[in-house]
């Protein structure tokens, strides 16, 4: 059936498919305005293998530094989540050699104290806020680091739920802290050690082990296809 032209969005980026000049790792190229940084690289004929993962803003593989035309400030973005504009200059950030502590999460005796053994640099935070400014997920990273030091693991775990582990907070830290790794440890410790055990879950596991559903299974699995379909239809 015919489409109604009054239901047509005049998308600016498609109405005026304007070409813009951008700079990719120092090289100038012309690309259509408004496409994402990753797509701009493909458009420019550059294969991207390192630096692309989910393409949906969740995996943090596409950490990128960029600058816009008249602003000296270098900013950070996720390349799959940022549109290019005229005069923009960017380069992807390779994986940064941060040190990840290894631990047995279940075996920790005093997780709040263990933080200082695993990541001894954490209390040396100098409050410069560079990490927060670097975070494309808008997490107050500096605040998170302080809360970790003061043992407020619950708040840290809530604050860093958005963390895509892009690692952009790490190279900027003057105290050599990897805030995302600290937060990951803290969140896991919060989950494994400081969160109430859900009683209902244990009850359900026990019910299954005790064979409480056995009769129901026996009935269902003996049904003919037709009976089973009718039975499914009765579940509301």
């Amino acid at each position: 059936m015919a489409q109604d032209d009054t239901n047509l969005i005049d998308q600016p980026e498609v109405m005026k498919p304007r070409m813009v000049t951008i700079e990719i790792a120092g090289k100038k190229v012309d690309v259509p305005e408004g496409i994402t940084v990753v797509k701009a690289m493909w458009y420019a004929g550059i294969d991207v293998v390192r630096g692309v993962g989910c393409l949906g803003g969740f995996c943090g593989a596409c950490a990128t530094y960029y600058r816009t035309k008249d602003d000296p400030k270098v900013r950070t973005c996720l390349a799959c989540q940022m549109a290019v504009q005229d005069g923009m200059s960017f380069t992807m950030m390779p994986s940064f050699p941060a040190r990840k502590a290894t631990y047995d999460i279940q075996a920790l005796k005093d997780p709040k104290q263990d933080l200082f053994n695993l990541y001894p640099e954490t209390p040396l935070c100098r409050n410069c806020n560079a990490c927060t400014e670097a975070c494309p997920q808008k997490i107050d990273v500096r605040e998170g680091v302080w809360k970790a030091v003061f043992g407020d693991f619950k708040s840290v775990s809530e604050m860093f739920m958005d963390c895509v582990m892009c690692g952009m907070c790490t190279p900027v830290c003057i105290a050599d802290i990897a805030p995302n790794l600290v937060a990951l440890y803290v969140s896991r410790a919060q989950g494994a050690h400081f969160t109430k055990k859900p009683i209902g879950l244990d009850t359900r596991i026990k019910e299954i082990q005790d064979g409480q559903y056995q009769d129901a299974w026996n009935t269902i699995l003996k049904m003919s296809e037709k009976e089973l379909a009718d039975h499914c239809a009765t579940v509301k």
């Binding site: 998308q11 958005d162 559903y213």
Partner: protein, 527 residues
């Protein structure tokens, strides 16, 4: 027209729509709708597979071509292994990590190889949640029945029963590793209701469920010091004289060299197919979702199941252009977000199964009640501001922070303005046929996660995939590890490839392409 002008119809009709209840379609109506509008029923998009274990079966042209494709490995290739292990896990998503952790935990010597970085996968993107029957009013049996109904009664009963029964213990395992599922005030797990389910059963971590689970699993794989090969794409499997699986050949994506791995058993956890863009659909999938595992297993002689059915998630973004195909989580509809056509009317019960909702959106658009964009895309509105209207200001921001941020980056506040959506290619309902230990008909070749098939029937219910990954990741890992002691490393040969090539030749080498695809060809050829 300006997008804001077109959105007015949604704002204007909101109060009336709020009072309205739309009954679910009857089974007969659903059937009719799906047959008429669901992409799975477009006969022209399908063809039969000409040879191999599924000879004569039908699938989409894009997949058939790859399944019949040739290997890039020559018959005389050097098969001296660079690595040897007990259990080789291929794929670094949820299924791969779960398999590796359990096999390692059971004492096997594990190697995990993956195409991109560890964790770069579909799993990390899961927003909606994970189905596990933990609520008192719920039960594994109800979970089974709901899933069966959603899967059009074609789900493998044994696979499904195992999954729903092991769900609760999987939740416990994840909690012990430190995964932060949302809780009720009393400490019990908070559950939400998903499309097609009769009881609230979705465990969530805000709208970052996959991210939270994967952050923890990745960290755990590193903590356990499981050896990793990253940027290594599996391009062929290896088999011994009897056709049992004995390892794989990888392509190192940095230097294009081959890496041969000898293994007592192999677990394929390579995920889905979205990046094949079947029928021209945009996709919600990650960059590496090119169905590689299906091609590899097929050449080895493994049978595939339900590969003629795919899931088109009802709500893929249509605007802005930068977000095309990306998911607008089903959670929005679970919390009452309504679908609205260009006339301001609702047209489906938003909580019907995904195939029904997708079909109804396609119907609206094909019958001229969609909203079009200048780039030739069409969609319907999803009334996101309704959530704030219904549950109080700040609801959208609080419950869907990931989505808020995604749209905000392009100047769109979804708590104030509805978003434009259309079905997006989301999930491969079928895959390699497995038994309840996750093993295929090829001995020592296991397949777990989205690459496997049978469990979901013809349509997967929201949230069942995350559980599938964990349950069958675990079972494949434990079974493979359990065999190690009684097994010798088999000889590394390409006998299966000889057989496959002979078969292909008989059928005139029909496809002419090399498979697996490895990565989609998005890079523009600049002359």
């Amino acid at each position: 027209m300006d997008i804001h002008a077109l959105q007015q119809i949604v704002h204007k009709t909101r109060d009336d729509r709020r009072k309205q209840t739309i009954p679910k379609f009857s089974p007969a109506d659903c059937d009719q709708l799906i047959h008429r509008y669901h992409p799975d029923f477009r006969a022209s998009a399908y063809r039969s597979i000409r040879f191999g274990p599924n000879e004569g079966g039908k699938t989409v042209v894009e997949l058939a071509t790859l399944l019949e494709g040739d290997s890039s490995i020559q018959g005389n290739a050097d098969l001296t292994p660079q690595y040897s292990c007990d259990v080789l896990v291929i794929g670094g998503g949820g299924a791969g990590c779960a398999a590796a952790l359990h096999a390692h935990g059971a004492g096997a010597n594990v190697l995990l190889a993956t195409k991109l970085r560890l964790g770069d996968s579909n799993s990390v993107m899961a927003q909606g949640g994970m189905q596990i029957s933990v609520a008192p009013e719920d039960s594994p049996v109800t979970h089974f029945l709901d899933t069966l109904k959603g899967g059009h009664m074609e789900n493998d009963h044994a696979l499904l029963k195992t999954m729903v029964e092991e769900g609760p213990s999987i939740a416990k395992w994840l909690l012990e590793l430190g995964v932060l599922f949302d809780r009720q005030a009393d400490g019990n797990l908070h559950v939400k209701k998903g499309g097609g389910s009769s009881k609230p059963r979705l465990l969530t971590c805000s709208d970052y469920t996959g991210l939270e689970i994967m952050r923890v699993l990745k960290d755990e794989v590193i903590n356990q010091k499981i050896p990793l090969l990253e940027f290594a794409a599996a391009i062929e499997l290896l088999s011994d004289d009897e056709g049992n699986c004995t390892g794989a050949i990888f392509k190192d994506l940095d230097n294009q060299r081959h890496v041969v791995v000898a293994a007592k058993s192999v677990i394929l956890a390579t995920g889905g197919i979205g990046r094949l863009h079947i029928q021209g659909f945009p996709t919600s999938n990650h960059y590496g979702a090119t169905g590689d595992g299906l091609c590899l297993a097929y050449r080895m002689g493994a049978k595939l199941d339900h590969i003629d059915t795919f899931q088109y998630h009802p709500s893929g973004a249509v605007y802005p252009e930068q977000l095309i195909g990306q998911l607008v989580t089903e959670g929005i509809r679970s919390e009452g977000g309504q679908l609205v056509n260009a006339k301001g009317e609702r047209f489906v019960n938003e909580l019907d199964t995904r195939d029904v909702v997708s079909s109804s959106i396609i119907r609206e658009c094909e019958e001229g009640r969609g909203i079009r964009t200048m780039s030739g895309r069409v969609g319907v509105w999803l009334d996101t501001p309704l959530l704030d209207a219904e549950h109080g200001p700040g609801t959208v921001e609080k419950h869907f922070p990931a989505m808020m941020l995604q749209f905000e980056r392009f100047g769109i506040d979804i708590s104030k303005d509805p978003v434009l959506i259309y079905p997006t290619l989301h999930y491969q309902n079928g895959g390699v046929k497995i038994d309840t230990n996750s093993e295929t008909n090829v001995k020592n070749l296991f397949v777990a996660g989205e690459a496997s098939g049978g469990l979901h029937g013809r349509n997967r219910l929201m949230g069942n995939s995350l559980l599938d990954l964990m349950v069958y990741g675990k079972r494949s890992g434990l079974t493979a590890a359990g065999r190690v002691g009684s097994m010798k490393q088999g000889q590394l040969t390409l006998k299966h490839l000889q057989r496959f090539r002979a078969d292909a030749k008989k059928h005139g080498n029909v496809s002419g392409v090399i498979s697996p695809m490895i990565l989609p060809a998005y890079t523009r050829k600049v002359s």
